[in-house]
């Protein structure tokens, strides 16, 4: 039952990406001018190069032009890319994951026929999920284990007009990939409840404003999306299961891949520290040969591997829904567990790795401080760890909100 070996295909993809990163990505990503976290533009050339390797369409079946990659494989690829450049990895992982779910699961034949060819052929065809809105408060466990609903209402609306089209009005914030996306999956409120509507980027009435990179508090590409009487064909609405799957409160969509990216960053920090500690001589020997540093690096490695275990279990659960490995508890939200584990441990790992570098660990022309910054971003954005832990507690006690 329990097999830690990757398949031959997974190993082949991993190694291909690893080589690509070593030769083409890493040398560019670690240039001093790209390490300044406040103002580094996305390396779109690297995104395109990765796209040429098939990393954008990874999750499509082979006969549709992809590699048939499951969630675990997507996580492996995301980690490898992130160890090179976290922004490149984020853009591609988002498109690949969305592509997989939309084309393989949620679109009907007619929709697939309309959108798939362009997606496959255009190496700059990226996807975005526009779900978050400014008014959506994160609940902070205010409603933890309480019957009082604190459910989130979607303010972006989609209404049918006389021509039977869907007309969208509303604002979405901090949408990953928005400046690059050619197609948006938009969470809308209709008369029949929440739904996901496919909206092409060139639909009239859709405006994207890129979120400035100032402060660097996101990874990848990010924009606000505004819809003003934006009309799309009636057939662009996805089926009723789509809203919950992509954006419902229990949704794990995209979580394992995001965590794998964080893991990749942590791994890059560790590898840098291991390399340096093997050559830096102080106290008469390479510092890796001192107990103080050895113990620290061991802890970094333990943290990386603990996170990896959690992430890969979560990814496997996404690919094998309904299969609870241990049967010990009610089905656990594994992607939420791995989110907490990964965010906390990778943050610790990057900081400990940086310590090996002495003062250089805080210099902006060196990568360590950027790895720390990125792991901090993962720890402090998205659903907070505190809220996530309470959701896990609810799952463990079998509690669900009305």
């Amino acid at each position: 039952m329990y097999d830690l070996r990757l398949s031959e295909e997974q190993i082949a993809i991993r190694d291909m990406v690893r080589d690509f990163v070593a030769q083409d990505v890493f040398p560019i990503a670690t240039k001093p001018e790209r390490l300044e976290p406040f103002d580094t533009p996305l390396a779109i050339d690297l995104v395109d190069a990765a796209s040429e390797l098939g990393l954008r369409t990874l999750a499509l079946p082979e006969d549709a032009g992809g590699a048939g990659a499951d969630t675990l494989t997507c996580c492996i690829v995301a980690e490898e890319l992130a160890a090179g450049d976290v922004d490149v990895a984020s853009v591609l992982a988002r498109t690949a994951a969305l592509g997989g779910v939309l084309f393989n699961q949620l679109m009907n034949d007619e929709q697939r026929g309309r959108f798939l060819p362009a997606f496959v052929e255009d190496s700059r065809y990226h996807l975005a999920l526009a779900d978050r809105e400014a008014g959506m408060e994160t609940a902070l466990g205010v409603d933890y284990h309480r019957d009082t609903g604190n459910r989130v209402d979607v303010a972006t609306t989609a209404r049918r007009n006389d021509r039977g089209e869907w007309v969208v009005n509303g604002e979405k914030t901090r949408v990953a990939n928005a400046p690059l996306a050619k197609l948006f999956a938009v969470l809308v409120a209709t008369d029949a409840g929440n739904g996901i509507l496919l909206v092409p980027a060139d639909a009239p009435g859709l405006t994207v404003t890129e979120v400035p990179r100032d402060g660097g508090w996101y990874v990848g590409s990010c924009g606000d999306v505004s819809f003003k009487d934006c009309a799309v064909p009636a057939d662009n609405m996805l089926g009723p299961e789509a809203a919950d799957l992509l954006a419902g409160p229990g949704s794990d969509f995209g979580l394992p891949e995001a965590q794998a990216i964080n893991l990749g960053v942590g791994r890059a920090a560790f590898e840098a520290a291991m390399e340096y500690a093997g050559v830096r001589v102080q106290g008469g020997r390479p510092i890796v040969e001192h107990q103080a540093i050895g113990a620290k690096l061991a802890e970094v490695l333990i943290n990386l591997e603990t996170a990896r275990n959690a992430i890969w279990q979560a990814a496997w659960t996404v690919d094998n829904p309904g299969a609870e490995p241990t049967g010990n508890f009610p089905p656990l939200p594994r992607a939420k567990i791995s989110q907490v584990v990964t965010a906390e441990r990778i943050y610790r790992a990057t900081k400990d790795s940086a310590e090996c570098f002495g003062a250089m660990g805080v210099m902006r022309d060196m990568p360590l401080q950027k790895y720390i910054h990125v792991s901090r971003v993962f720890l402090h954005t998205g659903d907070g760890n505190a809220d996530t832990k309470l959701r896990i507690a609810e799952a463990a006690t079998g509690f669900s909100h009305p």
């Binding site: 300044e36 976290p37 406040f38 103002d39 408060e137 994160t138 609940a139 902070l140 466990g141 205010v142 409603d143 604190n150 402060g215 508090w217 001589v281 102080q282 106290g283 008469g284 510092i287 103080a292 540093i293 620290k296 900081k351 940086a354 310590e355 570098f357 002495g358 003062a359 250089m360 660990g361 805080v362 210099m363 902006r364 022309d365 401080q369 720390i372 910054h373 901090r376 402090h380 954005t381 907070g384 760890n385 505190a386």
Partner: protein, 400 residues
């Protein structure tokens, strides 16, 4: 046992608090956001603080300073750091080395350097030890190893010393008018026996500063490379004996012992800033429900305050020990503790901003980045081991 301040101490505290709130706080974030590390510095705030006495505060009254005791020094550093840690450090770096001038310089050296230091609002001091090859090795030299540690070479030629080599990460490196530099005057023995302390004025021929390091935190604070190419110094600039710099003087409080207190007191200011920000946010904000009513928030605020007050207690005790000329391991231990506490307190502060729904607050992010500097100069493994070894070498078990 008395934890209160006397009137004079309270007066300095008020003065520092006012300067911090009115002059430093308004420019702190803006300085931090400047991309070029040299441009992040600003002389105006230094001049203003200097006129209030913050630059020259520890020089004795007879010599023209304010003679503040260590308790007052700790309090002032904390108050200034609460508004901006790096700006506080820029001032206190002057104290670190003016202690030394007052303690070990001869009359000629005092006249040449102390007087201009006192008179010129832009006269700041620096210290040069770290080199590419010597970081941890300078702090904990491997016994008997002559290749380890700083290598800036000093060759004596009559009444001149000729220096060749580099220093890196030097505090106030791009702006100081006078540096205290560790020179390897005898490379045939370990650094403990072969180091001389030289005073290097900025205008020394053959001496210049190089790159200014672009740091993730403490951005106002200028850390730079120092380059010596056949730099010529009069032997009259030597402090103490040739090759005698790293032999510890009896009762000497300046240098590292002050530095330990300095970093702990400065860190305490950061904790105070983080606590104030977090408590204010929690009182004001709702996110689904009033933040202050959430248990997780209450626990976090309590923890921030607990750690901050523990640090304050220890910092004041160490300051008092300095005033009593008690040399103990507490200074080093308090600095190590400061590293741990300030990082935890600011991280929790950041979590509280997450809870409030505003996770990208620039203010709290700066505090976190500033505290991370401590791991790279103060609380790292080598510092901890040095202090632990001193603890282990204490003969009897020493309680209060």
């Amino acid at each position: 046992m008395d934890f209160s301040l006397n009137q004079e101490q309270r007066a300095w505290q008020e003065k520092a608090r006012k300067f911090a709130a009115e002059e430093i706080a308004p420019l702190s974030l803006e300085r931090d956001a400047i991309l070029d590390p040299f441009d992040a510095f600003d002389w105006e705030i230094i001049k203003k603080g200097s006129k209030l006495g913050f630059r020259t505060a520890v020089i004795s009254r007879e010599q023209g300073g304010h003679d503040i005791d260590f308790v007052t020094q700790a309090i002032v550093m904390t108050e200034l750091a609460k508004a901006d840690s790096a700006i506080s450090k820029t001032f206190s770096q002057c104290w670190k080395w003016s202690h030394l001038i007052a303690a070990v310089c001869n009359d000629d050296q005092k006249e040449r350097f102390l007087e201009p230091f006192l008179a010129d609002d832009t006269f700041v001091l620096g210290f040069g030890a770290t080199e590419p090859n010597g970081g941890s090795d300078n702090r904990m030299p491997p016994p008997g190893d002559i290749r380890a540690g700083h290598r800036l070479a000093g060759r004596v030629e009559g009444d001149t010393m000729v220096l060749n080599g580099d220093k890196v990460f030097i505090a106030n490196g791009s702006i100081a008018k006078l540096f205290f530099v560790y020179v390897r005057t005898d490379p045939t023995v370990p650094i403990g026996q072969g180091t001389t302390l030289m005073m290097v004025p900025r205008d020394t021929p053959g001496f210049r500063h190089g790159k200014v390091f672009n740091k993730s935190g403490w951005r106002f604070y200028q850390n730079a490379e120092l380059i010596f190419e056949n730099a010529r110094l009069p032997m009259a600039n030597m402090v103490g004996e040739l090759n005698g710099a790293l032999r510890r003087r009896e009762g000497e409080i300046g240098g590292d012992l002050f530095g330990d207190l300095e970093l702990a007191a400065n860190g305490l200011g950061i904790c105070d800033a983080a606590c104030d920000k977090a408590i204010a946010l929690v009182r004001a904000r709702k996110n689904g429900g009033a933040l202050k009513d959430q248990q997780l928030i209450q626990l976090k605020i309590g923890r921030m305050k607990m750690l901050t007050e523990a640090l304050r207690s220890y910092v004041m005790r160490v300051a008092w020990e300095h005033d009593e000329h008690i040399l103990s391991t507490n200074a080093g231990l308090a600095m190590n503790l400061a590293t741990d506490i300030i990082q935890e307190v600011t991280e929790i502060g950041m979590e509280i901003f997450d809870h409030a729904g505003t996770p990208m607050d620039r203010g709290i992010d700066k505090l976190v980045r500033d505290t991370f500097i401590w791991s790279h100069l103060a609380g790292d493994s080598v510092q901890r081991m040095k202090v632990a070894r001193r603890v282990l070498s204490e003969e009897k078990f020493n309680l209060i």
